[in-house]
């Protein structure tokens, strides 16, 4: 019997309590909320599309680089200090206890060299992306009769923040009793802001929308939704997340290792999928095992996302990069993953091995 088979059998002896616990479905949402949440955003987006027909379509080649860092590696809260380079993560209070963080970044299909970054506590929230809409939801579902809460992020490529806010205000007026517009909020200074309330009952729906200039003539719309009694709970957590939101042109990323990792990755995976490593030989570690399809598939491939997992977020020595893609989008082929293991020495990332997973 192989070692992995013995290990598989040993896992079969896991504590029944843990097995039973894994049965609990988490992060599920009632259909009602999905409809309601979608309605809120859809109103904004549909209205935006009507007025601004060049609004970004859902990206089919979304870039979604992400890094996950271990608990305990979080830098202390830096809420009050502006970064000299204009780029810093503002972490919630008690940052050292907020668990595993996910660094999520996103760039629209139009490759306008704009990206966003947000810190989300993955111990408490799950992130989903569908057609360019990023949805952040609690992994601890509320009772079914509670209005559910969430934070959504969407990009409008040709709409200014003020235009987007005004459009949203009109669209939300029917749904909420009060809609107030402000030029900025404490959470994201210098960005237009909208707050809407459906009432003052404990379960009255509340919404906060931030409209962030992407620096390229477009807007990122962040929508937090919760009910009144959850304002100091989830509402606060959403505001903390929003406070970490930053639009980051890729050429301005502060950490050299991250910039270098992005650049290395973006050279490597086209080369691997093209089955031509001649231009990336400087990026291959000694004895690198560079494997992909063994043929050129690059012209057929659709990239869905690029995920990064680092051994740490301060001075990483290795990274695992997963490129989610499919070869034939029109035929609805399922996703494959090009997994690359990179190591970093003397500031240079190099490929140790790669392979395709299905």
């Amino acid at each position: 019997m192989k070692n992995q088979e013995r290990l598989f059998l040993a896992i079969g002896g896991a504590d029944p309590e843990l097995i039973a616990r894994s049965e609990r479905r988490r992060g599920s949402h009632g259909l009602g909320y999905i409809v309601a949440a979608a309605a809120c955003l859809a109103l904004v987006l549909i209205a935006g599309r009507g007025i601004f027909p060049r609004t970004t379509p859902p990206p089919s080649t979304t870039r979604d680089p992400a890094a996950t860092v271990e608990p305990g590696t979080v830098p202390p809260p830096e809420k009050e200090k502006p970064d000299p380079d204009g780029w810093r993560f503002f972490l919630p209070e008690g940052g050292s206890e907020i668990g595993a963080l996910r660094l999520l970044s996103y760039a629209p299909q139009s490759a306008e060299a704009v990206d966003f970054l947000i810190y989300v506590n993955e111990e408490q929230y799950a992130i989903r992306e569908e057609k360019g809409l990023y949805s952040i939801r609690s992994t601890n579902p509320l009772p079914e009769d509670f209005p559910e809460c969430g934070l959504d992020i969407f990009h409008l490529s040709t709409v200014s923040p003020e235009e987007a806010r005004n459009t949203a205000a009109e669209a939300l007026a029917d749904r909420y009793k009060t809609v107030s517009l402000e030029d900025e909020s404490a959470v994201l200074p210098k960005n237009p802001y909208l707050r809407a309330s459906a009432g003052v009952d404990w379960n009255s729906e509340q919404a906060e929308l931030w409209f962030v200039d992407d620096g390229q003539g477009g807007t990122f719309v962040l929508t937090a939704r919760y009910f009144l009694e959850a304002e100091e709970g989830m509402g606060m957590q959403f505001r903390d997340m929003v406070s970490s939101f930053r639009v980051v042109p890729l050429d301005r990323i502060a950490h050299e290792w991250m910039h270098s990792l992005y650049e290395t990755t973006e050279r490597l995976f086209p080369a691997l999928l093209s089955n031509d490593l001649s231009d990336v030989s400087d990026l291959l570690a000694e004895d690198a095992d560079a494997d992909a399809y063994g043929k050129n598939v690059w012209e057929y491939v659709t990239i869905a996302s690029v995920d990064y997992t680092l051994d740490n977020d301060k001075d990483p020595a290795s990274a695992t990069v997963s490129v989610k893609h499919r070869l034939n989008l029109e035929e609805g082929e399922s996703y494959n993953y090009l997994t690359m293991k990179l190591t970093r020495q003397d500031g240079q990332w190099r490929l140790a091995w790669s392979g395709i997973e299905k």
Binding site: L7, F8, G12, A14, I19
Partner: protein, 184 residues
Amino acid sequence: MEDHAIIDLYWSRNPEAIQRTGEKYGAYCRAIARNILPDRRDAEECVNDTWLGAWNAMPENRPGLLAPFLGKITRNLAFTRWRAGHTEKRGRGELPLVLDELADCASTEDTLQTLEAAELEEAVNRFLRTLPERECSVFLRRYWFTEPMADIARRYGMREATVRTSLFRSREKLRRHLEKEGLL
């Protein structure tokens, strides 16, 4: 019927126990078997053998949680059948992928071969208790239930890429844990 009532039927050697177990846990055990054995007939035979296994295991045992107790029997039966090669020609299923992943944290040396199964089980349980709840659950859905990553992502409202990342991290932790315990 409540689990304790079903278990009482087993203890009183009442054949109704098997019928009641099938009604309540048939789908549960079938899903476990199907994740390992892609052939429906093989899986169904495993599920039927599970009831017999439970019948034979009680009354010596009185399981605190009936579902994992039955699931473990199904899992072991399905794995044994898979290893016997019954299904090689009928499709690969999820298990080969799971075993490939577990190879990451199982040394190619023979160290695990010389261990008592119980010793390795205990080490794995100690490892599982070190994991955060969600990471532990994701790990078990993949390596206990042999579930596809897409199913795990749906269950927990996660992105599939996040599930992959979580599993990758867990395997690294397991490898380090086994090394630390001197088992690799």
